[in-house]
Amino acid sequence: MKIMVVEDEELIAERIVRMCKHTLNSRLLSIVTRFSLEEADIYLESYTIDVLLLDLNLNGKDGFELLERAVASSFHTIIISANTDQAVRAFEYGVLDFIGKPLSHARLEKAFNKYDGLIHEGGGKARYVSVKKNGGLILLNVNDINYIKGCGVYTDIHMQDGRNALHDKSLNRLEAILPQYFFRVHKSYIVNLQRVKEIKNCGDNKHELILLNGESLPLSRAKYKSIKHNML
């Protein structure tokens, strides 16, 4: 796991690094510390990371502007902040986890387990997906999403109104933050179950999902049973 810590207070940053090393041991491939998001951007131009550990209040600025940028990236974002009253909002923006200060080993371990997909807790809590578009950011309401298709390391988000948007996160990572009614129906598809009209039997034990707008999506054999259960 490659981690970047963004925290403007040096002692705290050191503490986070120390605890990550202790918690992850050999699973930790690299860990770097940056003291502002500008410095972080420079690093990210040349390197990739898996997890960003972000302090929400950098130099007294409103952290949600930074957060919007962070969650649009390919990596997972975990917030480490003293202002726990901001947790609900942060989750809605699509962070993987929110850890209150001061940090404990157990809590940090739980967050990394979430990253590994070991904990599900009934889906994520994101209500928005932040997407980079034309050099800026747009926030998509998850309820407006029909389905998401994996395209290599990227994903293609298909909206109810016919638009689509590319997201830097992989299908696996989006699945971890999206609510429970987003269902992995195929290795390349996540669908919003609220937009599914019916399951069509194509014979030969093959099935397709028909969406409300008439589009059809493949449904893998392995997922057929659990989706039937979910839709009932």
């Binding site: 403007d8 207070e9 040096e10 002692l11 705290i12 503490r15 003291f35 003293a82 202002n83 200060k101």
Partner: protein, 587 residues
């Protein structure tokens, strides 16, 4: 709003003008010659008069047709009675319709000094001792009621003859003589009614006076309350005097005269306090100069005996002051204007004999309006006070919240965790600084003002903590500070916090300088820091709202705060003025 105010003012002045003319018209009353009596109370105003005295002049059969006529209902005529010894005679015709069961009486007033009254030649009453020389004369009462025996009050013609000797008061201007005939019950009823009115009016004055006195001592020592209280006391005295002069029997002439003098004086004193009260309650600027001028005018008017003009002048001035104050939108001016107009109207009614005690009812109306106005003002002040208390507790809350806000505590604790591992010997100092900050916070939470040296301790502790957390060094210098100056808690602490949060990057050292300067207007605190002075980083956030609220609480309407970039840093300037300027603001 101004237009309406102007309309209301015009309406009241037209009303006042109209009423004044109406009274002027009504003033020409015909003189009554009441010699026939058929019931109720009748004044005997037409008399025959002759100076000197002779034995038979009191006889019923005496022919007085050669005597001079005298109408005593006209006050001017009493001047004719400039004699040591004289007689008055008149004819009364009792109607056939008179009830036989009623006791008839005669009431006299101001027959100076001694008199004897005859009814059909029979002496009914001795008032004092009539004499031919000053030394033998004994003055009688100023008024009396004489019952006419039933045997003498048969229907038909009767003669009233009065012999009067006046050695004692001859050289002085005479008071109006009143002689009335009527049923005894009517005289008695009138007196009881007057007595009730006296107690009623005096009671209301006493209640208002005590109310205002209590208000003055227990509320806010506004002189207006004291003046209104004294005004009421003067009026209690005056009510008593008016009753005495007009109704009290068994009152000697000299007592009557001294009561008159006191009543006369009380009119000056009362009116002085009325206008003084109006000036004070409407917060007229330079009020002391006006009060002294008013006092001088009152004393002058008293000594030149300019009473009528003085009373009119005071009423007019009170109205003008109230009207100007009303025009300028002063609190309470509207009710003061209404009260004074009511006072003038009722006084005019009283003066024209249309309403007995009209003057006092006028004053009562005025006082009722002013009391209502006070009530409204007190309710307003009370609300303002309650809001202030609420604001204070909200500020106290905010201060405590600053102290325990998670951002500060949790980050400090997490830094401390790391410090314990990395530099355990410094961790102790860190805890000391944290404890110092907490201790000053908890001591000053409930206070409006604290010593500036405590505030500096607070700032120092905070800078130390942040120095460790940010791996920087912060210093605080103070210039011109004694240490005992009082300031609201956590004001500079908030500015330190803002400076560190917005102005400094990691590992950057910072310098804060607090300077105090004494100016003509008051005190100026300048708080400088050498941070990168970016305007958008000093955008007056929540922290500055706290500072503003604290300044407004402790220095209402007499503070300003400016924040601006200077060469090499950023400065916040707080001016605390000795006198109110305007609503304090942050720019």
């Amino acid at each position: 709003m101004n237009r309406y105010r102007w309309l209301i003012l015009r309406f009241f002045f037209l009303l006042l003008l109209g009423v004044t003319f109406a009274f002027a018209e009504a003033y020409e009353e015909p003189v009554k010659h009441a010699t026939e009596y058929s019931g109720g109370l009748s004044s005997l105003s037409t008399w025959r008069y002759h100076s000197q005295n002779e034995a038979l002049w009191n006889a019923k059969a005496f022919d007085d047709s050669q005597w001079k006529n005298l109408d005593i209902s006209d006050d001017e005529n009493t001047l004719m009675l400039n004699a040591d010894h004289y007689y008055l005679r008149t004819k009364v015709i009792l109607s056939d319709s008179l009830s036989q069961n009623q006791l008839l009486s005669l009431k006299f007033e101001n027959l100076r000094s001694a008199s004897q009254l005859y009814w059909d030649g029979r002496k009914l009453f001795d008032n004092g001792v009539i004499a031919d020389a000053h030394k033998n004369e004994v003055e009688g009462s100023v008024r009396g009621i004489i019952n006419i025996p039933e045997s003498l009050s048969q229907p038909g013609e009767h003669i009233v003859a009065i012999e009067i000797s006046n050695h004692k008061y001859r050289s002085l201007p005479n008071e109006p003589i009143v002689i009335q005939i009527g049923e005894y019950d009517e005289f008695a009823k009138k007196e009881i009614w007057a007595s009730n009115i006296k107690y009623f009016i005096a009671g209301v004055f006493l209640a208002v006076s005590v109310f205002n006195l209590v208000f003055f001592f227990s509320y806010n020592r506004k002189p207006a309350f004291l003046f209104l209280s004294i005004y009421c006391l003067v009026n209690i005295f005056k009510v008593y005097l008016v009753y005495t002069v007009n109704y009290t029997e068994e009152l000697s002439i000299s007592q009557y005269d001294s009561s008159q003098t006191l009543m006369h004086t009380s009119a000056y004193v009362g009116n002085f306090f009325m206008l003084a009260f109006v000036l004070l309650t409407l917060s007229v600027p330079r009020v002391n100069i006006y009060l002294i001028s008013l006092l001088a005018f009152t004393v002058f008017a008293y000594f030149v005996e300019f009473k009528g003009g003085y009373l009119v002048a005071i009423a007019l001035l009170s109205l003008i002051v109230s009207a100007i104050a009303f025009w300028r939108g002063r609190v309470g001016a509207g009710l003061s204007l209404v009260g004074l107009l009511g006072y003038v109207l009722l006084t005019l009614l009283g003066n024209r004999q249309w309403l007995e005690y009209g003057y006092f009812f006028g004053i009562l109306f005025f006082i009722a309006c002013m009391t209502l106005s006070f009530g409204i003002q007190v309710i307003r002040q009370n609300n303002t006070y309650r809001e202030a208390v609420l604001r204070s507790s909200r500020l106290e809350n905010e201060l405590l919240k600053k102290n325990i806000q998670p951002h500060f505590i949790m980050n400090s604790l997490m830094s401390l965790q790391e410090l314990l591992v990395k530099k355990p010997n410094e961790a102790g100092d860190f805890i000391d600084a944290l404890a110092a900050e907490f201790s000053v916070f908890s001591q000053s939470a409930g206070k409006k003002l604290i010593n500036i040296k405590d505030e500096l301790t607070l700032c120092d502790a905070h800078l130390k903590i942040m120095g460790w957390r940010k791996n920087s060094g912060f210093s605080l210098q103070s210039v011109g500070i004694d240490g005992d100056e009082k300031i609201p808690p956590a004001v500079f602490h908030t500015l330190v916090e803002n400076g560190i949060t917005h102005g400094y990057k990691r590992r950057q050292h910072g310098k804060f300088v607090l300077t105090k300067e004494i100016h003509d207007f008051g005190v100026r605190y300048t708080f400088f820091n050498d941070s990168e002075s970016l305007k958008d980083n000093h955008d007056g956030g929540m922290g500055l709202k706290y500072v503003e609220s604290r300044l407004q609480e402790s220095y209402p309407e007499r503070w300003t705060m400016r924040s601006f970039s200077v060469n090499g840093g950023w400065t916040v300037e707080i001016d605390i003025h000795d006198k109110p300027i305007r609503k304090g603001s942050y720019s």
